[in-house]
Amino acid sequence: MHLKSKDLLSIEQLSAEEIVMILDSAKTMKKVLTQPTKKTSHLQGKSVVNLFFENSTRTRLSFEMAAKYMGAASVNISSSGSSINKGETLLDTAVTIDMMSTDFLIMRHRESGAAEFLAKRVSASVINAGDGMHEHPTQALLDVFTMRDKLGHLDKLKVAIIGDCLHSRVFRSNLLALTKLGSEVWVSGPASLMPLDVKQTGAHYTRHVEEAIEGADVVMSLRIQLERMKCGLFPSVNEYFRYYGLDDNKIKLAKENALVMHPGPANRGVEINSALYESDQSVISEQVTNGVAIRMAILYLLNLRRNAL
């Protein structure tokens, strides 16, 4: 079985079987990562371009390491220092990259739908590393990988996602992935940072954070962008932490040894306090390791599909 599409644009496009295939493959890749010599030849002779229009540390580095561990030639382009600053359109930039025999085009872009837009127009496999408020599929895959790795299964887990769901692509991708795999997603956060139609998305919404966290197997806190405060969506960091920030009191409501997750980068003391961030329950650091394994798996599986055609 191969992945259906040449691109990885969203969780929406993936079937549950495809997600499981990626998770299984990542399990093998994680073993590679823990070997003394972290090298495979799966992507020997292949080229990977990281095209990042937004700032990123972990995602970009993680893709770059994944490609290098697998033997691909990988190149980074950021919007500063390229023709994008000279007013070149996204499409022209991407076609230019495509014409250099690029196999994988990994893109982060501030506009929702940007990856899908490109995928239709280039022959490289496009991997969405985050598009606006739409999706961040590799983040969700590494999140569910982490949950399965730690808890052993993904069947009927209660996963609480707390924070700014309105602007969060991590929320959207996780909701789709967890729902497809048979788990339940509960969301809470300031109503001003919730989509109006949140109840129709398949998530259980409650205005009481405690209700979302109660009995949860996993509690995931989302990053809050401080600029949301300036446009009137919440009044202060202090108040945000008081009601929505994860701390020892709130986490006590979850199952014992519930996983604490955060996609990073975190604002300590705003959406999560430092003690919890560093506690034994926190798998935030492991998420980073798993991110490399997931990205290796995606590159590997997309490459298999490319070779098969």
Binding site: G113, L196, T201
Partner: protein, 432 residues
């Protein structure tokens, strides 16, 4: 131009004036003969005729009028110009179009109105009536020279693209415009709450991760305008109605006797925000496409006369402005070449309306709004006619359209009916 059209099956607007009846009385048969003398409807005479048309199998409408188009000239000729825009209008059966003032420079003074009139006389093939801006530069700060624009040929006023900014400015504009017998056409959108949203706020926008514009952005300003019109007892015309609540508010206001009229566009009774899925920029409309319950309400509004007319809001754009990321693409869709067929296909064919209703929506109501003597078969008035074959259908290829703008949402859709002849001042300007 002298002509005779025979075997003509006339479609009359639902409500008839006395003058209309005069021509009816000529002939009580199914079909009749239309005589044109010096470009005007005339009594029967023996000729000689410059041309004759056998209208067997066709229906004949008074020339269709579109009260809301963007011809883009001056300033944006790369999107459309008066020559291409009026040819597109003719191909869609429109004999007259009223063009919005958001050009560059803005049509906010008599010299731009005159320029448009002169260009239209030079290169246009249908009647072009400029709509002047309400405020200078459409900025909502100072009144534009309404009287001078009217003298130069403006038929109405609008800051289309944005609302007349404040309630206070709307009140002043309404009062001042009334002295010159001009109606204000308001694009209703409270920009403080739409706040940069680019599609309808709802499940589709949530799932696509696109900033939504709530339907209440329209409703709030519709209510504002109705309250001001009621308070002043003056007319106001609501542009491109897209929401259920707007329809309800207008219906209720009309019942109270408020002088409010309103228009909608085919996109608002055919498509919904779900058409945007897949980030299809052809469905970025302004106001945005709404929900199925809004579509239903718009159709009801057209049925009971709450909505007076169908306009296109023809908004041509260059392909480079559409073939880009969804959030960066321009709003708007073309409509001149598809509006009649789309209305016939989606309103008449399913039985919501009859052909006579389309004559009301496309001919007599626009005539009343713009106070022009077109849009009927009145003896002695200019002979504008649209001849349509209802039996033919057409599959739309947006790249083959007459308009310079190729941004039609009807691409690859099949629409019933086909415009056969468009006649302006007795002259055939489009012949399929």
């Amino acid at each position: 131009m002298n002509a005779k059209i025979y075997n003509a099956h006339l479609i009359w607007p639902r409500e008839l004036s006395e003058k209309d009846q005069a021509i009816v009385k000529q002939d009580n048969k199914e079909t009749t003969e239309i005589y044109i003398k010096d470009g005007c409807f005339s009594e029967a005479y023996d000729g000689p005729f410059d041309y004759e048309i056998d209208a067997q199998g066709l229906v004949v409408f008074p020339g269709l009028i579109d009260c809301h188009v963007h011809l883009r000239e001056p300033g944006f000729e790369y999107k459309e110009d008066i020559a291409s825009g009026t040819r597109a209008a003719a191909a869609g059966g429109f004999t007259s179009v009223a063009c919005m003032p958001n050009t560059d420079p803005v049509c906010d003074n008599a010299s731009v109105v005159k320029f448009i009139k002169e260009r239209a006389a030079e290169v246009g093939v249908v009647n072009v009536w400029p709509i002047g801006a309400v405020t200078k530069g459409q900025k909502g700060e100072q009144l534009a020279e309404m009287g001078l624009m009217k003298e130069a040929g403006a038929v109405a006023l609008s800051d289309d693209g944005v609302s007349v900014k404040t309630a206070d400015m709307m009140r002043k504009a309404m009062v001042y415009a009334a002295d010159f017998d001009l109606t204000i056409i308001d694009h209703c959108e409270d920009a403080s709450i739409s706040n940069g949203g680019i599609m309808n706020e709802g499940l589709a926008s949530t799932q696509m991760g696109i900033k939504g514009s709530p339907s209440i952005a329209e409703d709030i300003t519709v209510m504002r305008d109705i309250l001001i019109a009621d308070y002043l007892d003056l007319p106001v015309h609501i542009a491109h109605v897209s929401t259920k609540r707007s329809v309800e508010q207008i219906r209720e206001a009309k019942a109270r006797g408020v002088k409010v009229t309103a228009e909608t566009c085919p996109q608002y009774f055919i498509f919904t925000d779900d058409n945007c899925r897949g980030y299809n920029t052809l469905f970025r409309a302004y106001p945005p496409l709404r929900r199925p319950e809004d579509v239903e309400a718009i159709i009801e509004g057209l049925q009971d006369g709450t909505l007076d007319m169908i306009v296109t809001d023809h908004a041509p754009h260059h392909e480079d402005e559409k073939d880009i990321e969804f959030s960066l693409a321009k709003n708007g869709m073309t409509g001149l070449e598809t509006a009649f067929s789309a209305s016939y296909t989606y309103l008449v064919k399913p039985g919501y309306l009859e052909l006579e209703d389309l004559a009301r929506l496309f001919c007599s109501a626009p005539e009343r709004l713009l106070k022009v003597e077109r849009g009927s078969f009145n003896l002695g008035t200019a002979a504008d006619l649209t001849l349509i074959d209802l039996e033919q259908s057409q599959t739309i290829d947006r790249f083959k359209m007459v308009s310079k703008g190729k941004n039609s949402p009807f691409h690859e859709m099949t629409l019933d009916s086909k415009i056969k002849y468009t006649i302006v001042d007795g002259e055939v300007v489009y012949d399929a």
